[in-house]
């Protein structure tokens, strides 16, 4: 069937297209593109480091916030709750995954950012202000706010996969634990330990999603191409620089640089997603074989 092959062709075509369109930027800047932090469309100097930094930090932070919550939810839904409550709850979490990211961003600007500016950030500053992460003026928008929005968005994904992975752990193992006198939590802990490679896969997949997320992040991260230690400062991500500048890019070099940023983004998400999928495949196959 030709159409099935067309999916593979599309992916190959995407890679080829982006590679070809970013030739100019690669010829002019070479590897320096990744390590330079100048981004100046007027002087036609382009370096992607601030964007890479913003993307990596915001996504990792989001994962850090989201992972414990997701595991908690998965355990709650799988092990603690009876069926009558499970169905509506898992439906609500699915909806959370389906809300368009533009709405998250919109909500982020008008609800979360003021809340961060007036409540959370001053609180963090007064208690943990001696750390470099929490210095600077609390604008409301910035790395931390973006990470929280991202965490909300990736929680349903990580939860869903963690639930699948937990389901794949045989019940007999849990029963054996109970028979040895384990408490409920100890039995669950054992199941979680056995599922760790699957959970790792789930979180890597969530990370991939967070890295590629565009609209919501663009709206709350502040959009300034700078690297700073403080989480309150505005930053920029790879996806949002493309969203903001692509349509109005001046000159071929600018466009070509933006496409190269896209190429880096694509490469990173591609590697991360393949890794996650392989982990999850091998995990489910292993448990099915048992």
């Amino acid at each position: 069937m030709i159409f099935a092959c067309s999916i593979i062709l599309i992916v190959l075509f995407i890679i080829a297209e982006m590679f070809q369109d970013s030739v100019e930027a690669r010829e002019v800047f070479g590897w320096k593109f990744i390590f330079s932090s100048d981004w100046d469309p007027v002087k036609e100097k382009f370096g992607a480091l601030p964007f890479i930094f913003g993307t990596v930090v915001s996504s990792l932070l989001a994962l850090l916030i989201s992972l414990p919550i997701s595991i908690g939810v998965a355990v709650f839904l799988n092990e603690l709750v009876n069926k009558a409550l499970r169905t509506p709850l898992s439906f609500l979490i699915e909806i959370l995954a389906a809300i368009p990211s533009i709405i998250y961003g919109f909500w982020g600007i008008f609800v979360l950012a003021p809340f961060m500016r007036n409540t959370v950030q001053p609180l963090l500053q007064s208690t943990l202000g001696f750390l470099p992460f929490f210095k600077g003026t609390p604008y409301g928008t910035g790395l931390l706010t973006a990470s929280i929005i991202l965490a909300i968005m990736i929680t349903p994904i990580i939860t869903a996969i963690t639930r699948d992975v937990l389901k794949a752990i045989p019940t007999a193992q849990r029963e054996a634990a109970y028979a040895l006198g384990a408490t409920k939590w100890e039995a669950i802990k054992m199941a979680l330990l056995n599922a760790r490679s699957g959970i790792l896969g789930a979180s890597v997949l969530g990370l991939g999603r967070a890295i590629g997320e565009t609209m919501a992040v663009t709206m709350v991260i502040g959009n300034r191409a700078e690297i700073s230690a403080s989480l309150f400062e505005p930053a920029y991500t790879m996806a949002s620089v493309i969203a903001n500048e692509f349509a109005e890019a001046s000159g071929n070099l600018h466009v070509s640089s933006l496409i190269e940023v896209g190429l880096i983004l694509f490469a990173v998400t591609f590697i991360i997603n393949s890794f996650a999928r392989l982990l999850i495949y091998s995990f489910t196959r292993k448990t099915e074989g048992k």
């Binding site: 069937m1 939810v73 909806i95 389906a98 533009i102 919109f106 590629g212 997320e213 349509a247």
Partner: protein
Amino acid sequence: MEENKAHTSVFAKPKNLKRRKIVNSIMLSLCVVAAVISILPLFYIFFYTTKSGISSLNLDFFTQMPKPVGEAGGGMANGIVGTLILISLGSIIGIPVGILAGIYVTEYSGGIFSNLIKFVTDVLSGVPSIIIGIFAYGVIVIPMQGFSALAGGFALGILMIPTITRITEEMLKLVPQSLREASLALGVSRWKTTLQIVLRTASGGIITGILLAIARAAGETAPLLFTAFGNRFWSTDLNQPIASLPVQIFNYAISPFDDWHKQAWAGALVLISLVFIVNLIVRIVTRDKFANKV
């Protein structure tokens, strides 16, 4: 060894047991807290969107054109029509490719090749939508020398493929093997069996999958920014930039005008309702499927 230790600790040290019970209840209640935290933003977003959007959501919103800054009222008729056009274009590309790929993976599976396709589909579903936008820009916008509805529809179509493939695959798996065998035993050819027996049996599920993909595509903003671009005016020309609901929400949301914010909230309410209703339908239909299976 470890299990032995655990065993002795259970019966020999009641003090330890108390501590373990406390840890148990702490951790279990943390799980409950996590569930509450994860649901909270959903209700907050729903509540806030409804509160801010309901006042501008009236007939005008669906039938009127956007008004200039400073004038209250007006609507997003062009954006709504634009989104409908973009989705139709996307469906023309996404639905056949998605379904046929799904059929291939389940009905002709087994080889390395179908596994490869499965894997690539998964990867494609993880590709950031903005990258798809760049791709559509390179393939359609540059050769056509201008932003167009066609490019936007193309981008949405690619985004729909993985979702549809995945659901088709799941639904075809639920079709009993005996049905296929019965048809083949009657001398019906392979592709006719697939098309008329298997696909028809699974059609309900596949249609819900298509709905799901459409709901997802309807809310996509990033790939449209530099393909369909957006348009302040009425346009149904496929070769021209076209307005769409999400892009209009984005532009209004980052503007400094209160009137525009209200309009954007109304648009957001429309999108959220769409997503909610579609997911509800999907949920009900697939639950019936699973009930039949068990």
